[in-house]
Symmetry: D3
Subunit: 254 residues, 6 copies
Amino acid sequence: MTKKILFINPLHTEVFDEEFRAQFERYKSPDTVVDIVSFASGEGPIHLEYNCYEAMVIPELIRTVKKAEEDGYDAAIIGCFYDPALRACREVTEKMVVTAPAEAALHIATTLGESFSILVGRKKWIPEMKENVHKYGFGDKLASFKSLDLGVHDFQKDHEETKRRIRKAANEAIEKDGADVIVLGCTAEFGFFESLQQELGVPVIDASLSPFKYAEFLVEVKQKLSWTHSKKVGYQSPPVHEVKDFKLFETTKI
Amino acid sequence: MTKKILFINPLHTEVFDEEFRAQFERYKSPDTVVDIVSFASGEGPIHLEYNCYEAMVIPELIRTVKKAEEDGYDAAIIGCFYDPALRACREVTEKMVVTAPAEAALHIATTLGESFSILVGRKKWIPEMKENVHKYGFGDKLASFKSLDLGVHDFQKDHEETKRRIRKAANEAIEKDGADVIVLGCTAEFGFFESLQQELGVPVIDASLSPFKYAEFLVEVKQKLSWTHSKKVGYQSPPVHEVKDFKLFETTKI
Amino acid sequence: MTKKILFINPLHTEVFDEEFRAQFERYKSPDTVVDIVSFASGEGPIHLEYNCYEAMVIPELIRTVKKAEEDGYDAAIIGCFYDPALRACREVTEKMVVTAPAEAALHIATTLGESFSILVGRKKWIPEMKENVHKYGFGDKLASFKSLDLGVHDFQKDHEETKRRIRKAANEAIEKDGADVIVLGCTAEFGFFESLQQELGVPVIDASLSPFKYAEFLVEVKQKLSWTHSKKVGYQSPPVHEVKDFKLFETTKI
Amino acid sequence: MTKKILFINPLHTEVFDEEFRAQFERYKSPDTVVDIVSFASGEGPIHLEYNCYEAMVIPELIRTVKKAEEDGYDAAIIGCFYDPALRACREVTEKMVVTAPAEAALHIATTLGESFSILVGRKKWIPEMKENVHKYGFGDKLASFKSLDLGVHDFQKDHEETKRRIRKAANEAIEKDGADVIVLGCTAEFGFFESLQQELGVPVIDASLSPFKYAEFLVEVKQKLSWTHSKKVGYQSPPVHEVKDFKLFETTKI
Amino acid sequence: MTKKILFINPLHTEVFDEEFRAQFERYKSPDTVVDIVSFASGEGPIHLEYNCYEAMVIPELIRTVKKAEEDGYDAAIIGCFYDPALRACREVTEKMVVTAPAEAALHIATTLGESFSILVGRKKWIPEMKENVHKYGFGDKLASFKSLDLGVHDFQKDHEETKRRIRKAANEAIEKDGADVIVLGCTAEFGFFESLQQELGVPVIDASLSPFKYAEFLVEVKQKLSWTHSKKVGYQSPPVHEVKDFKLFETTKI
Amino acid sequence: MTKKILFINPLHTEVFDEEFRAQFERYKSPDTVVDIVSFASGEGPIHLEYNCYEAMVIPELIRTVKKAEEDGYDAAIIGCFYDPALRACREVTEKMVVTAPAEAALHIATTLGESFSILVGRKKWIPEMKENVHKYGFGDKLASFKSLDLGVHDFQKDHEETKRRIRKAANEAIEKDGADVIVLGCTAEFGFFESLQQELGVPVIDASLSPFKYAEFLVEVKQKLSWTHSKKVGYQSPPVHEVKDFKLFETTKI
């Protein structure tokens, strides 16, 4: 049964899109069809390191998720490790699965090991991500956060330097903090997990591949067992008439 | 020293504005100047019961906060008990204080009593609010959530009925759940706290007055002692050039 | 790529095996091959309601897991909601994935909803299961445990009666405790999830199908991304020579 | 509306009183009237580094609080960062607000930043203060405790040396522990916060000014909105006749 | 080896002393010598239901503990379920063991069962006791608090009525809250545990006998293994010269 | 009243038995009779560093506990710091007390000090032991785990070297992590506690003596007050007929 998945890179740049596509094609299940979408170049943030950037792209993100469901996707992935607007995206969809990097990476990490460290770009990111770690229930399994002192658009600039920093931070996390799983805390840290996990001898969880594979899994259980987001309480959808009255999914102005 | 405070009612309706204004005028400190702003009628949600409504008004909210600082306000209040975009609003301001209902009400409630109950409109609201209670650190002091089964625009329809429901829920919270402070979990539950707290014999914390008075306090400590939001880690501001490049505060399109 | 999965029903009875097989065949992915194994009839416990029964079957369980890896299985499932010997089973295998019902069901439940209730057979089971809920990190998302007052071998005796009890407990969990996902806390509560979730309007997570699908997922990420149990700290394997010296996997005597 | 506030320095020495007075006069609101009281010199502890010293001054502290209410004060501040007898002091007063340094400093710190470090005089103080941090709900926001290796009466001896130690500890707290707010964990660490926060670029919360300003705030909400300590459960007052029978507020003997 | 134990009933009444003595004589080890002391009748509170009563007797309590060590006691028990001044009492003693009812009862209860309920006299007591339950680490094992609506001096008035209320509350705690151990939350609830535990089929932990037996145990490990309160951090003693200068143990005035 | 205690060294070696016996004889109460039992040499693991070794000896452990009760013992001690099968062992006994090293050591450590560090042999042990620390409720009192990089059978090889490592780790735990009690995290770390605690000035809790003395205490309260493991919920015994049908305590095959 085909699984149609949309990876939303919620940035106003398509600079990473091709590499995401290449990765997903390489690691996908045979019955998965995957598309990538990013937002209009030049119209907004090209990274979401600040919570206010994240906040600003949320309406476009939600509209994209909404449209994805109308276009027949089975799952949408919110491609930012802050997991922006996850609850909102689950509200606006009726049947489509929605997931996000931190949720997926942490569920996987805590199944594979005893405690994990998250390697972020900058210290600035830590408070919001730590809140999410606690929110998902994994505070007791968090060994540490480590900052690589790199911005979102620095990770791919000098691969050897990025690798060197990940390796150093990961080794410290393992040796000093007791981590046995490493989580890469940004979708733009792609291309590193495979060689590094071989070197380090522990799983290194990639931030875009983990929600991608988790999305395949969630679609699978939805298709086979009808297990999907509960609409009873927190993910309840707004009334159709209100959505219309409020022009919720119209782009003009808001 | 004058304290210029802006209460942002992040709804696309001005229906509550006059009553907020009247309240604030009545309870303000002599040196406080308060303004109310709401969003363009007919252009978006008139309540934020759903997380997706909340998400959709965030850009306008952030722009309003940003402009408030430019206009010389000392504090802005985000007038919704979900405390939307609080971190983002603190990022985009340099010196202005920003606070919000749940933050303020819970800090006050936990100083005044041993454990509190939050009276919400609908069960739907509880998961997101519960997350906030835990995020602020008050999970162990939460006696219970109680739903009044009323929407945001129902609270003011039939005052006696609303009062009856608050009274019933509050009494249960006190008698069965051990609460000794009641928190009204929606800014639109205004006009009830005073008579009810007299009746019930416990503090009843109003959701718009609590952030209003807390804002006065935060401005006071900023003006006198320069204690204001730390810009070192989580509330660090984005670089000016990026904000410009990203057209962050421009309304068109987004 | 074929995924060879072994479901270990760690009971000394094959009474449930055929129904497990039928279920798995019905809900499996096309590339999954699944086998069921249970333990020698008449040689030990036919249910694990008591921790001492559970303890007694652990050596046979571990030997079975060990042999499964030798036999080329990609994953083994420990078919009891107490998740017995999960850490031990991950130690004795080199590459095979091992999972179990509570782990799988709770990771799924917390991705699909805001808070879950677990419907157990008897109150006796609650303390050990509650420990596991906390161990996995989901204590804050646990709405309640509900006892159906049925033993492991009672669930399938009178389907209507079992259904009636599940329905009643689930409704209470949803209405009074705020759950939006129901977890069936015993692998023998099979055959109920599908009709009940339709009726109740919330996901009902089956205790044997959830680890089965989770196992497929874990094998998938192992096969595609080499993400598998970390052998660095807690799941480190014992030295081969010791295993031999200690006759660890020999059945005689122990 | 006048706010009459009494700062109780619960030490048997008046050595700090003038400087407290000078500080409060400098930072107070126009409508605040503040008095300082300390205990009879030569009759008891001149610092409360030990819990047994703290315990010994509690009766005099409670009597002072009780008398403050009779004398028409609107608020009393218990001037020790252990927040001694806070619950007892709230019991013995009917309408007067009572607050204390740790309570006030931590509520402010957690509103201004993401995580805080407390700079104490000696390691000995940490266990009791850590208990309070957890009791108030801020355990997850505590970055670290740092000891300056100075006693209560050392802070004011050599200002440059004290400053040097605070600066060093604060920098470590910020750089290594991720703190973005610094809390000075002793009322006698006065006179340092202002220059240090300018230097460090993060708020530095003073242990006597924070409860002083918080007291002004609590009086403000009491005067304007009748929000004051709940007398329903934990802060319920003892019966008048018992208080009399038990000679509770008589000084002789006890 | 003789174990000399002093039970301090920190009340200004000797009304319970004989019954405590009788109890301890009945349940003590052969090598235990036990004495009871209470405070001067007519000079202070005869119960400690209020935190301010508790606070007021603390100096006399500390002096009594100090003197007990001088008089050669091996252990002192602070006979109130609020465990008043436990840290202070451990500071002022060099070698003597000090324990208290909640500490002892909860360590025993959590060793004997999976979760406990505490039966208190009045709701007023709950907040402070709940703080202690969390402080000792047993928050997750607390099934519930139940109030008997009886004051300290009511428990012994009508034995049948008290028993009836304990029975009712305990049954609810067991049936509805899942408790498998009952803790009597007041030293004056003596004389009930034995018959009730036989009736109820679960351990019922008495609030004076539990610290008494725990004290015997702590003396035993001190005498045999030199395991006693650590004086390194939190229980460090104050300097002798200060204690003298501060007139810490002198009764006059304070 | 005689207390008959069995220390079960759940290893297939008697190499430590004589030293355990010597120790217990030295530190026991006069009315205690103590026996040591270990498992058949050459038939299984001689240490339990791996969870799978632990798992493999559990059936023999349970049978030994069961037989101990039949043989009239008042208490059995499970001699491994992982506290294997504690719940199971409490289920299979009717009246006998069962305890184990981590449970006993941690209850004692948290009564004697403010926070403890556990000195383990290898990092591998930490995840399982940390789970137990949290399960018992002492997560907030855990200062740190420290690894000595020694296996179970290394501790007694070179006493001076072992001592040197314990001393170094303990000093770090005290100075850097704030511990004021040291817990030796393996029963085979015997013979060190007494000289080290004198040197270090903090209690050093031995892993076999702590459950031994705790067992004496538990037997004492059982004999005198009938306080023993609650059989109501988690420690409920299995039905006699099932135990027989399941051949639970028969050695052959399982």
